[in-house]
């Protein structure tokens, strides 16, 4: 079931990246917030992957080419601005997506209805930090603009239709653009002018074509589980 894998992998991979922040956050409150968001996403991932099969087999025993997440969520954390820009782009998308799914009666309606409350919180967190970094100091403004620009070309993939996910993708994209544009504007940041997809990579993550750092991320994530075949934990 490609659809559940796509949505589940998005949540699983972003959760993992956020987990890398533990013990490194700029302020104690962010240790709590980032771990909280990571946990919510991990919870979503577990529900979605369980629709397909055994969550641990799917998370730990698939190789890179079998993962269906968008490339945005596998991007390395970078500085705090990159983490926040990635979160803003993803959470605004996820909120729109889950709202549509929750309103429908498809296989994801129940999961989306639960998740949409969490996602609204994630979005608010990312939005508040985008405002603070964008409209904070000169340095934070520059860093935030750089992050917003750098990740922009990973956003097109969010709106590539996924088979089995019954939503209006064009409406999703339009609303995303409007919301992100509004937040960036209020943060005194410029909406990037470039294309939302790289020259060749649009939709690549959904087909198992990932970026180089992703393989290393999986190597770390899967190593222990793979070292003890058949063990239970």
């Amino acid at each position: 079931m490609t659809a559940a894998l796509a949505l589940g992998d998005d949540a699983l991979v972003l959760s993992h990246r956020l987990g890398e922040w533990a013990g490194h956050a700029p302020v104690l409150e962010e240790e709590v917030a980032l771990a909280n968001i990571a946990l919510d996403l991990l919870g979503q991932a577990r529900l979605l992957l369980s629709l397909v099969g055994d969550e641990d087999e799917l998370a730990y025993l698939r190789e890179e080419r079998a993962f269906r997440n968008v490339q945005l969520v596998e991007q390395p954390n970078g500085d705090f601005a990159h983490t926040i820009a990635r979160q803003l782009y993803f959470s605004v998308h996820q909120q729109g997506l889950y709202e549509q799914l929750a309103a429908g009666d498809g296989p994801f309606a129940a999961i989306a209805a639960k998740a949409v409350k969490e996602v609204a919180y994630h979005r608010d967190h990312a939005e508040q930090w985008t405002l603070r970094l964008g409209d904070g100091t000169d340095e934070s403004h520059e860093r935030m603009q750089r992050a917003v620009d750098a990740l922009w070309r990973c956003t097109g993939e969010l709106f590539q239709p996924v088979e089995g996910v019954d939503v209006d993708w064009q409406a999703l994209h339009d609303r995303w653009l409007e919301t992100v544009g509004d937040v960036l504007g209020r943060a005194t940041l410029t909406v990037p002018a470039g294309p939302q997809s790289g020259a060749w990579s649009a939709g690549a993550g959904r087909q198992g074509i990932h970026t180089e750092p992703f393989g290393r991320m999986l190597a770390e994530m899967q190593h222990l589980h793979r070292s003890h075949p058949g063990a239970s934990w």
């Binding site: 699983l12 993992h16 987990g19 890398e20 533990a22 013990g23 490194h24 956050a25 700029p26 302020v27 104690l28 409150e29 962010e30 240790e31 709590v32 771990a35 909280n36 990571a38 946990l39 991990l42 919870g43 991932a45 577990r46 992957l49 969550e55 641990d56 998370a59 730990y60 500085d79 705090f80 405002l131 603070r132 970094l133 409209d135 904070g136 100091t137 340095e139 934070s140 860093r143 653009l177 409007e178 992100v180 544009g181 509004d182 504007g185 209020r186 943060a187 005194t188 410029t190 909406v191 770390e220 994530m221 190593h223 222990l224 589980h225 003890h228 058949g230 063990a231 239970s232 934990w233």
Partner: protein, 339 residues
């Protein structure tokens, strides 16, 4: 909490005497003797205040440094369920740090000041967090033994004479007991798992047992602060007393786990009704306290780095707050505003 009857008259007299130190001291002593809580606005001896700041800061620092050895395994947790549990635990530790810094701030210090002292090496954190987490089983050993020792230490602190500290401990202890059970259950799964998993669990217990016993501090005859802390009812039991209590709890738990404790001298002492156990290597303890443990450099280094690398984020938040709290309302977009 309202002052009880025992010290009310003495406190009233002290207020009337306008700073008469003897009367204030008498009111404080009466409150402590009557097991009342001292609250932030109450008069307290300078040494009591200083001792609490030292202890509470060290406690708060331990929570945030203590995130590191466990966070070390978040990205490698072997199942999604275990990963979720570990993330929740590390998140709780950050929360405990926040409670404790807030409680310490009621004594007239600030979180920033305390963190500066930690980063400068002028305040300590628990010696246990200077040991490395080398396998997944260490996460379970920390839950069972380290959190278990912490709980043994902290439950009596729920009755500590300083109100904000006691109340913080009530909340912390509830969450810690939950983590402790999860750590135990993790070890149980390993112990009952494959031979390799069982061996991993035993190895972790072997490495964490003695450092956990050191968490109770130096022996009573070498503990600098104990007598005074007990007189002030900050502490309720001596280091050695709590350590013995912990050993008594752990021995049957280890048996239930199917794991051994790395101490050939542990045996039941019928006469005293408790376990005897072997001698602790106090030289190692002193070396770790002095900064020469296996991870001291690494732990403090990572904490300093997170703080330094996060400075621009905190400055941004402060600058934004200055711009937007002076009644100017929402952000006024400058330049290229909305899409």
């Amino acid at each position: 909490m309202a002052a009880g009857t025992a010290s009310r008259a003495a406190r009233a007299a002290a207020d009337g005497a306008q700073g008469a130190d003897a009367a204030l001291q008498a009111a404080f002593d009466a409150a402590v003797a009557a097991d009342e809580r001292i609250e932030p606005r109450d008069w307290m001896p300078d040494a009591y205040r200083a001792s609490l700041v030292r202890q509470m800061a060290q406690h708060a620092h331990s929570e945030i440094i203590g995130m590191q050895p466990e966070a070390n395994w978040i990205t490698r947790a072997p199942s999604l369920r275990r990963k979720a549990i570990l993330m929740a635990k590390v998140q709780d530790e950050a929360g405990h740090g926040l409670y404790l810094y807030s409680a310490a701030e009621t004594l007239g210090t600030s979180r920033d000041e305390l963190l500066d002292k930690l980063h400068a090496g002028r305040q300590r954190y628990s010696s246990i967090f200077n040991y490395p987490t080398l396998t997944w089983a260490d996460v379970g050993a920390i839950g069972w033994l380290v959190d278990g020792a912490a709980i043994t230490n902290q439950v009596p602190l729920c009755r500590c004479s300083y109100g904000p500290y006691a109340r913080a401990m009530v909340r912390v202890c509830k969450e810690e007991s939950f983590h402790q059970r999860q750590g135990y259950e993790l070890l149980l799964a390993l112990s009952n798992g494959t031979p390799a998993q069982h061996e991993m669990a035993q190895d972790a217990v072997n490495r964490w047992w003695w450092p956990s016993l050191m968490m109770f501090g130096p022996p009573d005859d070498a503990s600098a602060h104990s007598a005074q802390s007990m007189a002030w009812k900050i502490k309720r039991h001596s280091n050695d007393e709590l350590r013995r209590r912990f050993v008594d709890i752990c021995v049957p738990q280890a048996a239930a786990l199917g794991l051994s404790l790395p101490d050939p001298d542990i045996r039941w002492n019928e006469e005293l009704g408790r376990h005897d156990f072997g001698a602790i290597d106090w030289t190692e303890f002193q070396e770790v306290l002095k900064g020469n443990g296996p991870c001291n450099e690494q732990r403090l280094g990572q904490r300093r780095r997170a703080h330094e690398e996060g400075a621009w984020v905190r400055e941004a938040a402060a600058a934004y707050a200055r711009k937007h709290t002076s009644g100017a309302g929402p952000a006024v977009p400058k330049g290229k505003a909305t899409a």
